[in-house]
Each structure stands twice: as C-alpha cells, then as structure tokens.
Symmetry: C2
Subunit: 192 residues, 2 copies
DNA sequence: CACTACCTGAGACAAAAGTCACAAAATGCG
DNA sequence: CGCATTTTGTGACTTTTGTCTCAGGTAGTG
C-alpha cells in the first residue's frame, strides 16, 4: 500500500485521526480505485447504496430527480468523501443519484468491509466517527445558508467560501443547488 | 443506574446500538440531569459548547441572531439529542444559542468525559458514530426541503412529517425555521 | 379582573423571484 | 473551420413573497 495515487486519501485520513500503519493498511484494503468518465453514474436513484466514496480527482454531483428535472443537492470535489448515508445505513433505495461531473478518479469503500473493520479496529471506527462529524458540520452550514440568507447573499457566500463551485460548476446547476431559478441566478451574477 | 427518569434515554441508546451494561453505566456517569425553565439558555452564541444534550421532556430551540432578530434553525423534542457540533469539536465560539422552549428536563453529556470513554470503550464510540449518522441523515433531509420545495410545500411537509413542530411551535418561529416571513406563513396556513 | 406582553390575521403596497420566449454565446465534434 | 448542441443572457409579464401597519386575540401575572 505505497500507492502514490492515494496521496490525497492518505493525507485526508491521517489529518482526520491518528492511525497506526496496520489500521491504515486494512482501511485501504477495503477500498477500490475506479476511473469514471464524465457523466458516469455510480449510484442511481432507487438503487441501494453500498459504499462510501472518496474523490481523488474530478468531482461528483449528487442529484435528485424532481418532476423530471435534476436538482443538484451536492458537489463533492477532490479530497472529500460522499455517499447516500440514509440508503447506506438502512439499505433502503437511494433518493439521490451520484454521477461524475468530470472525468474522475475515486476510491470506493465497501460498506460491509467497513462495518467489519469498525468492529475490529477502534482506530477505524474513530475515523468513521470523525468523518461523520465533518460531514455533519458542513451540512449544517449549508442548511443555514437557506435560513439566514437571500438568494443574492447565498451566491456571494459561495463566491467567498466555495469558489470551486463557482469556477467549476455551470450556472444552471448552481441555481438548483441554491434553490433559485436559472434566470434569477443569471441576474444576480450580472449585478455582481 | 436504574433511574426511572432516564427511561427515554436508556431506550434511545439501546435502540441505536447494542451495549453491555458496564458501558451503559459509564455512559450514564458522563451525563448529568438538569431541569430548565422556559426560556432558560444552555448555550449562548459566542460561548464554547462543552456538551451533547439529550431531551427527556419539553423541547429546545436552536437559534441564530441575525441582525438582531432570532432565526430558529432547529427544534429538539423529547427523545432526541442536540449540540453545536462545530463549536464542540473545535472549541470555537458557538454561532448558535440553545434555549428551552418549554420547561424541560435534559441530560448533558460532558465532552471531555465522552472523548475519554470513546478511547476506552469501543461500544461507546460506536454509539457516538451511530448517533452522528442519525443526525446527519436528518440534516440532509432538512436541507433538501429548501432545494426541492416551495414555501407552501415545505409547510405541508412539516404537517405530515414533523407534526410536533406544527403543534408545539408558534407560527412566528416556524416561519424563520422555514425561511419565510411570518406573514407569508400566515397566508399559507390560511389557504390550508 | 385588569394589565401587559406576545402572537396572529389581514390589507395595501413594494420588491423579488418565477415563468415564458427567444437571442446570443460558448462548447464540442467531425 | 463550420455545424449542432448546450448553456447563458435578456426582456416582458405574472405570481409570489416581503414589508409596513394596525386590529384583534391569547396567555400569563399580580
């Protein structure tokens, strides 16, 4: 497990929690590398989610089909994890689809393998807990965007706090992520 | 630990994860019971959050001060946990205030004690992880409310999925929770 | 019961956002 | 490069929501 391509993943894990080499090795063994072409789907609405995904390169979009149109609920860039936790946890059909927004390289962590590792290794379960903490904090922040800010303020928030979204995602997709019509976001952008 | 008043808490924990009696005892020892009068504050914006709270009776409201007015970001009813995870985790000033919306009985779990228990007991760390999973799933659902639904639809969602909020929370407070003006929610309610 | 503080309902108007239609620009591909 | 496809910008109009204001209602308190 001295795979150079896992550099980001390695750093992510060790930044999150202290972990001795044997646990690290086990954790890496639960994952498998995968290359995605643009638009490729790794989880389809209705399917049961079976893994947690780390993005090494490119980005993933999480979308919900609402009356035939795609609503972007999340974007996962390099050096971040994503999944559909609800589906993963309870083995129920996913209400989201996850697909590559660009050609991407990801590592998929198999749920069953992870659950076994949680039982065997305290360090790995600790990693799981801390990862969830991080995801939950990000999610809370995102929810509050909608309660505290107007659409214009939300866009400006992205500009200063999530520049990657502005730079790499199309206006149409950002608009559904912000919960406004495409035209509205176009006008917001025009004003500055 | 055969304290009858902890009945809900006991059930909550054992529903979430299997836990042998010694771990349960340790976990209970990390908590302390507290009675709150209506309006009493347990975490103030700017303070550092030091515990996770379980609501045994009554409810808590989580609020953010935005330009001098209170925005309700969350309500925690009986049989649920809450905290400000961001502040708890990184010992930074909380951006939220948590106060009792009714006379309440809560159990506060001390952060430092919990962290120690996590290291000692795999069962307790597992409980922590599963609790976070549950909180994250709820949070995701809540965020999607704003991306997928109009204000009217959001209110109807609460009616069918979170009736407690409709029944126990005032219209003014629900309105900021849904990100709309008080008058708008009043009109929505009027239409049915 | 009377007083206060708070909450809700309602009207009038202003502001913002959504919708529809179409033009312009950018992108991808042979 | 030229063509087709997708994305973005813009205007006109409709609908929704916000803001301001005030009246009526409710709950709690002494």
């Amino acid at each position: 497990m001295t795979d150079n391509t896992k550099a980001l993943l390695y750093k992510k894990i060790t930044d999150l929690t202290e972990m001795a080499q044997p646990s690290l090795d086990k954790l890496f063994e639960a994952s498998s590398r995968r290359e995605l072409s643009k638009g490729e789907i790794i989880l389809k609405q209705g399917q049961i989610c079976k893994n947690i995904v780390f993005v090494e390169k490119g980005y993933l979009r999480t979308i919900i089909d609402k009356d035939g149109i795609d609503i972007n609920t999340d974007f996962t860039f390099e050096n971040n994890f994503t999944t559909n936790l609800k589906s993963l946890r309870s083995s129920t059909p996913s209400d989201t689809t996850i697909q590559a927004g660009e050609p991407a390289i990801i590592y998929e962590f198999d749920k069953e393998k992870l659950l076994k590792l949680y039982k065997v290794s305290q360090e790995i379960e600790s990693f799981g807990r801390k990862l969830l903490e991080q995801l939950l904090i990000a999610q809370e922040e995102h929810t509050n965007l909608f309660k505290l800010f107007t659409p214009t303020e939300r866009y400006h928030f992205l500009q200063t706090n999530k520049p990657q979204i502005i730079q790499r995602i199309s206006l149409s997709q950002i608009s559904s992520y912000l919960g406004v019509a495409r035209e509205t976001l176009s006008r917001i952008r025009k004003k500055g």
